[in-house]
């Protein structure tokens, strides 16, 4: 049984995540396991986990989305401008819903733009999204002059800071999105096509699969996920700005890869991504409690990534 678990990438990752958790619980037992710390962690990781989810979906097709943070900020800046413009009218929740829909549609549009670049114009995804990410971030700067948009209605705070039945709202949103994306990849025609396209784009074309549509949908989905992450960031910062979370791009890529998503396409499971996010967060918070400098944390992430790859390698080789 244990052997079976350790034979799958996700199984090994689960073991590692558990290992990190136990190690931290032993090293700083009182504080790591304290409710305050557990809640704090639960508030922290959803925003970049959602970005990692978006990157993973793009990676499944053999692409990548480096524009996630740009999209998140552009959509939240526009939503914030919208809300601060109408905030005086006092209809908090209604305004929030309208703003959320607006930001989702911005995310979708930005994502479709990426999809268009990749599918119709044949740009390599890494450059298409690098360039479009700069454009999205740049538009947000141009709209705001670089400063933060404030004056949001109080209802906004609930998205990033509230709880639902005692569970942090961002975590609830993440759970719904992860489950939804995981389910869609497995049980819908779109999900199956995404995976198959990633495995061999040329053969997908020869099999009369609508490859352009699939790519458009994939990047559109990435854009919407990014917009959700943007909403959470906006709510947690109670403002929107063009450069929030700019360090999350490479982190999201790192998490996706650590989660076992094949950057060349065709393989990846959402459960792996979730486990990778958890192990990162446990490590990160634990090391903070141990007062290890944040630079060491960066190093340890890198080591973790390479170590997981090496372990995968060794266990692939030792298969009978």
């Amino acid at each position: 049984m244990i052997n079976r678990i350790l034979h799958s990438t996700e199984g090994r990752l689960a073991a590692i995540t558990l290992g990190v958790f136990v190690a931290m619980a032993i090293l700083v037992p009182d504080r790591f396991l304290s409710p305050a710390n557990l809640t704090s962690m639960a508030f922290q990781f959803p925003e970049f986990a959602i970005l990692a989810l978006a990157v993973s979906v793009a990676m499944l097709t053999g692409g990548i989305d480096l524009s996630v943070v740009g999209v998140a900020n552009l959509s939240s800046v526009i939503a914030a401008l919208f809300m601060s413009h109408f905030a005086g009218d006092g209809q908090g929740a209604g305004l929030l819903i309208a703003a959320a829909l607006l930001s989702l549609s911005i995310g979708l549009t930005a994502g479709l733009f990426n999809g268009l670049l990749v599918a119709k114009f044949g740009l390599p995804p890494i450059l298409a999204t690098l360039g479009s990410g700069l454009v999205f971030a740049g538009l947000a700067i141009a709209m705001t002059g670089g400063s933060a948009v404030m004056g949001l209605p109080p209802a906004v705070a609930w998205v990033g800071n509230g709880t639902l039945l005692g569970i942090p709202v961002p975590l609830v949103i993440l759970a719904i999105l992860a489950a939804g994306v995981g389910w869609a990849l497995k049980y819908t025609a779109f999900g199956q096509k995404t995976r198959m396209f990633g495995a061999n784009p040329l053969a997908a074309r020869y099999a009369a699969m609508g490859t352009e549509r699939v790519l458009l949908k994939v990047y559109g989905l990435c854009g919407m996920l990014s917009a959700v992450a943007g909403l959470i960031v906006m709510s947690r910062a109670n403002s929107a700005k063009a450069d929030y979370g700019s360090s999350y791009v490479l982190l999201a890529v790192l998490i996706a890869v650590l989660g076992g998503v094949n950057p060349y396409g065709g393989y990846g499971r959402i459960i792996g991504v979730v486990l990778a996010v958890l192990s990162m967060q446990f490590l990160s918070s634990g090391l903070n409690l141990l007062q290890v400098t944040n630079f060491a944390r960066e190093m340890i992430w890198g080591i973790l990534l390479i170590a997981v790859m090496l372990i995968n390698l060794v266990s692939f080789r030792s298969k009978p």
Partner: protein
Amino acid sequence: MPTDTQPAPLVTLEAVTKRYAAITALDNVDLTIRAGEAIGLAGENGSGKSTLIKVLVGVEHESGGRIMFDGEPQSRLTPTAATAAGVQVIFQDFSLFPNLTVAENITMTAERATGTVLVRNARARARATEVLNRVGVKLDLDARVERLPVAHKQLVAICRALAADARLIIMDEPTTALTEREVARLLDLIRTLKADGVAVLFVSHKLGEVLEVCETVVVLRNGAKVAEGPATDFDSASLTRAMTGRNVASEPPAPLDPTAPTLLKVEGLVRDGAFEDVSLSLRAGEVLGVAGILGSGRTALAKALFGLARPDRGRVSLDGQDIPLGDPIAAAAAGIGYVPEDRLTEGLFLEQSIAHNIAIGRFDAHAKNGVINLGNLWGEAADWLKRLSVKTPDATAAVRSLSGGNQQRVVLARWMARQPRVLILNGPTVGVDVGSKAEIHGIMADLAASGLGVIVISDDLPELLATCHSILVMKGGRITEVVPGGAGVTEADLSHKLAS
């Protein structure tokens, strides 16, 4: 015969075994190759031919047994050592460098063998030109190989092997992409090589070629050597029996019902630079062959019919309904299917499961509001595996694990599951063994019998003659003639019509 005066054989294999995990790809194979000798290596798909070659040149390492060059045992042979010993290979997949030029590809191995550190362009180009002349083809030395048609790539691969001063040239199915004329040229070349004392190990599914050029024939089955003897002892039938362990007979196509309705109608189709003014019609139950020499536009036509390329002018209609041009999805929806030339890159999702490879076109059909009924989907895939008797214990295994013939059946099953009206097969039996080949021909006949229209593009003239009701001859992008299939015309006639 006084054995002591005879030099040690060029290559000797003693009880060579190669295992990949559970699979025994080579099982105690003995083989001797002497200077100036051509040996034909025959066997069905997956019988171990390519593996034998890889072991012989150090790309893979034997799990047991001994390899000797000139009587010297070789321990842990490397490609460099094999090249140094004068062994050159034309790999089944050509193993060329698509990003390099023709000249660079041809001279790469030879130049490396000289041990030079610096590139000697002038010398290399002279060498490449010389070899190209010897093979009798004209190619632009500076063209990137990725831009060449398949046949030219194969010629480059052949030239590369010739450019090095080889003592043994191994040819793993070197004629699959070549037309009759080029094959004849290659066979001539092999005779010259032999006269010069070069040995040739010739692997081919085209039994006629093997028997024509080789003096000895070795037959592998399931990795083991099952027959060996002078070529004169074999004929096509006995060789087939040795390879498959049974008799395979080809049947002529069932006669076409003269009242069958017209399915596909193509009128004045033009794609500048590829084909001109193509008109044809295909009836239900008809198998239509397309023959032509290299670059005659057959593949371009097939792709245009399937929407992978957009024709400049003309109409295509199915059951009287016009099909939008340049859109494979519309073509597939209208009922046209296409089994591509290159199975590995265009046909299969190698790392994905066999079931996925079959189901690729059926996701939408089994989905309601986008949600797939997985039970039905996999059930259907399993059903097709059974109907086409694909040999695999497990539909969830990666399709890579199947042999060529079974892989081709998977691609066929994918299209059959979509119940097309017209199926276009491009090189349906390329790299497929005799046994599987006959079965694939059987599947084609069944399809036609069930009312489909089938278009077959092939370089294998006997195949076209045996399976088609009529055959279109394409030359320079135009259909120049329509000849009847079956016994209506002989292979030599057809070959002449193409070449003239």
